[in-house]
Amino acid sequence: MPAILKKDNLQQLLASLSQAYKLVLPVRENGMTFFRPYQTGLTIDPDYINTATSPKEFLFPQTEKMLSFKYRESADISITNEEPHAEKLAVFGARSCDLAGIAALDPVFGGRFPDPQYSTRRDNVLLVGLGCRRASASCFCQAFNIDPLACAGADIAMIELEDCFAIEARTARGHAQLANFSQLLEEDHSGGVKTSLSSAREALNRSFGSLPDPAGVKDFLDRQFELPYWEQIASRCLGCGICTYICPTCHCFDIFDVTRGKPDGNRYRCWDSCMFADFTGMAGGHNPRPTQKERVRNRFMHKLKYHLDRYEIGGCVGCGRCVEKCPVNLDIRQIINDINKLQGVEVNGQ
């Protein structure tokens, strides 16, 4: 049963959160919304549908130092591993799609050989989800059965209603934190939240456009690797990294050393993008994905098939960022629709 947080009390909740955690929240900046560190008086962008970049950067930063090394001729190479980043971080206002994105990243960096950097950050993060009020023209989380109000995976889930927030702890960490705010919360004696919730849900559902149907896509892609269709898509693609860098589930990285010509240096890992020509470039010059066709195919196969193959969890969460930002309007919803059409041709052709 969710409790009630009066809107006037939001500021105080943020202030208290910021004492226990480093707090980031969605803030308006240059006409867009980004997660930015909390400062006194700073409040959330009241109009944001979603942030321009995804919250994955807080668990998997774009640039991360892994180790530093020293080389002396008289001695062995000495290597100092970078301590995993154990700062307590609260991400306030994460949407359901982005929480699903984190759930899709967890098995990649977890599993049998957990990544110490990611795992440490993950263990120290408090995810405060905020249900959506409306969908943008590019939103399609519902196509993947993600409920934009549910905030699945959040430690604390909130939904903005007319005059208050419904707030609920979902995990032990969430309960512990929410207990600190008990003086800010009220119980829903009148049961009004339930009514408001259902009207909020109705309004939200109405704001979604037509959704693509990904049900048969993986099955089709399992059989069809060589599709001329990918050439058509690739001919439009500029080969930039926008879609992969703003995607809440893309997680490819590159590891390299910076030495500045000295025998000492640092090793970093940085985001990389399968859209880039050198992404699969090998020593010796061979590139198994020599043209944009193979690269584009890889991205969409990863979202709609490979991630499901490997982790039984979807690689696309329908956040719509790539749809919104692609400079040449390559729309993954359109691609799902096109694949469904191709599938129809395949069936009828038999």
Partner: protein, 315 residues
Amino acid sequence: MSEKKAHQEITAKLRAECKRLLETGTVHTVIGFAPGSMPGRTVPVFITNPQEVAQLTWNPFCAANLSKYLLDHHQPGGKAAIVVKGCDSRGIVRLLQDNQVLRDEVHILGIPCRGQYDHRKIPGGLEVEETEPLEQGTADVAHPELHLEKCAYCENPTPVIYDLLLDDAVAPSTDSKGRFTEITDLEAKTAQEKSTYWDDHFSRCLRCYACRNACPACTCRECVFDQFDPDWVSKRNNLTENTAFHLIRAFHVAGRCVDCGECDRVCPVQIPLRLLNRKIIKDLDELFEAPTPGTDLNVKPALGDFTPQDPDEFH
């Protein structure tokens, strides 16, 4: 003529002309715009079958500069037709001057342009009811406040180079006073203010390289930013590296940037990249009396040419 009539007429004319070009074998491909997946968007299309010309469209949401696609679609001994606005046509001149494409490999379909809408400025996001009248031209009045920044001052609404013009020429902006206002405003600030201004923007950069990939002046097969060795700029995303990237990018296209504004348009975090390029265009104008690059096929890029009258600081 109302805008609506103009859009529909131009679209009809464009389709008929492309059908003819493909049927007669004058061109092997048509590079143009088709309706996009959302209101207020268009997608680039490449048409080789004359039966498919109905995909082509023209409306004031054809913001992309298609000229760079010629790199992939030009073939020796054949022609590709391409739809261009005035600003895009300077991109074609860029490719021709840089010998990336030959003049007889391209058939230029020029469309005089009254300004392109920025879908990000449509009030309330992308609602069909709001964008449709703009797309169709049925909006009671044109909405210049919804145009892309670059359209506020347009030197070449009519393409500077074309094989066929699909509408009557549109006169350029005559008030040249406002040409570099945004540059002079920033120039007037203190070094500290300028530094902070760019730090705020560059720290947001994702290093997705969309600005580079969309740019008709960026045609190197292998880019310095893709190279590991030498380590000029690493993949690390921090203010230092991002600043280096942006200054190198801007300077690399100095004297060749045609001010089509694609870098600005494609940037996912809205860094005002065009300001850097326009600063250079302004200086080239002041120092070399150079017109905006790409305006004239016969005028060589100021930094790619030498005359004894060139100013210099060498002693």
